[in-house]
């Protein structure tokens, strides 16, 4: 006898993610899930992005999911912002941040006093793309030394994301990377991806990225205010 079921295997994970999102929205926090392969520059980009946002008076926190130890958290410590280390396996282990980890991390953050939460996902272009955490936006970092073919090799990652930070642009003179081919691959995998060539090292490309991020955040905030007005 066959019993039809038709249920999404990830429905529990997604339900928890939606709870996370409701919480973010009720607190007016914009949440960014940042993903990349190891070493593409997530931590360094966050360092600079958060410094710039801080100088505009915005309050940020980080959920640090990347594997092993507290190296990344220590790198961000000088920013004096709340950081939750979500992964405590001393030798690594998990391949992605799950919605339950984000849920648990929220208990440790001053939610009433934040504009942004950045989730640094685990370095991996495969698994993190599969999981919705309740974030408002997924961003993929691709650094130039990784090669032009990565979008085509990891299509789900590049399709799930709204923007791609093309990092380490400062290295361009030293590399053989074919930028037109890279752009073509990005467009072919996701023609709606917004691409920001940046350097976390020099800060090049940052004004456009920060403005874009701020406009996304204010759009979400406007929707939230409209909903609040309609409810009253």
């Amino acid at each position: 006898m066959k019993i039809p079921i038709i249920r999404d295997v990830l429905e529990e994970s997604d339900a928890l993610a939606r709870q996370n999102l409701e919480r973010f929205n009720s607190e007016g926090i914009y949440v960014v899930n940042m993903m990349s392969s190891p070493g593409a520059g997530k931590t360094t980009l966050l360092e600079r992005t958060i410094s710039e946002l801080k100088s505009k008076g915005l309050k940020c926190a980080v959920i640090e999911g990347d594997i092993t130890s507290t190296i990344d958290s220590e790198k961000l410590a000088h920013l004096n912002i709340p950081i939750v280390q979500a992964n405590t396996q001393p030798f690594g282990g998990d391949c992605h941040v799950g919605s339950h980890l984000v849920h648990a991390a929220l208990k440790m953050l001053p939610l009433h006093d934040l504009n942004y939460i950045f989730i640094e996902n685990i370095g991996n272009l495969v698994c993190p793309a599969e999981f919705y955490l309740g974030e408002h936006i997924k961003i993929v970092v691709l650094s130039l030394p990784e090669g032009e073919d990565k979008p085509v090799k990891y299509p789900l990652m590049f399709r799930e994301c709204k923007a791609c930070l093309l990092n380490k642009m400062d290295l361009l003179p030293h590399l053989d990377v074919d930028i037109p081919l890279l752009n073509k691959n990005l467009v072919h995998v996701n023609g709606e991806l917004t691409v920001f060539p940046v350097s976390a090292k020099t800060g090049s490309g940052f004004p456009a990225w920060i403005d874009w991020l701020e406009s996304r955040r204010s759009n979400v905030a406007k929707v939230a205010i409209r909903e609040l007005e309609q409810a009253n």
Partner: protein, 116 residues
């Protein structure tokens, strides 16, 4: 990954041992390798509390709709470009997600329990 139809099985009066097959549908866009998933299922079968179950996996091809000209088409390579208007604003309609489709339970055993 949690393949856990146990709750539903319990609620419909089926004992876990009676489950002979679990059918999953896996989108080709997902990074799931059917062979690896089957292998894992075999290794962890007892953890799932389904000692007699097989896992069958159906792969779902990726199909899309063009947001510009509304054409529908399927993909065999990760080039999300409309073959009709060459537009790049393409929505994935199928081929994403992991779905538990159905479970099969052994009829004989089930009848036995029913009559007893």
């Amino acid at each position: 990954m949690r393949v856990a139809p146990n709750q539903r099985v319990a609620s419909s009066n089926v004992r876990p041992e009676e489950v002979t097959n679990v059918a999953l549908r896996v989108g080709q866009l997902d990074a799931v390798m059917p062979e690896a998933l089957s292998e894992m299922f075999n290794l962890y079968r007892s953890n799932f509390n389904l000692p007699n179950a097989q896992l069958t996996i159906e792969e779902e091809a990726v199909s899309c709709r063009c947001k510009d000209c509304d054409a529908q088409f399927s993909l065999d390579t990760p080039v999300f470009v409309c073959p009709h208007c060459f537009g790049c604003r393409v929505q994935v309609m199928r081929g994403r997600g992991i779905t538990l489709m159905e479970i099969t339970i052994s009829e004989t055993e089930h009848e036995d329990t029913y009559h007893s």
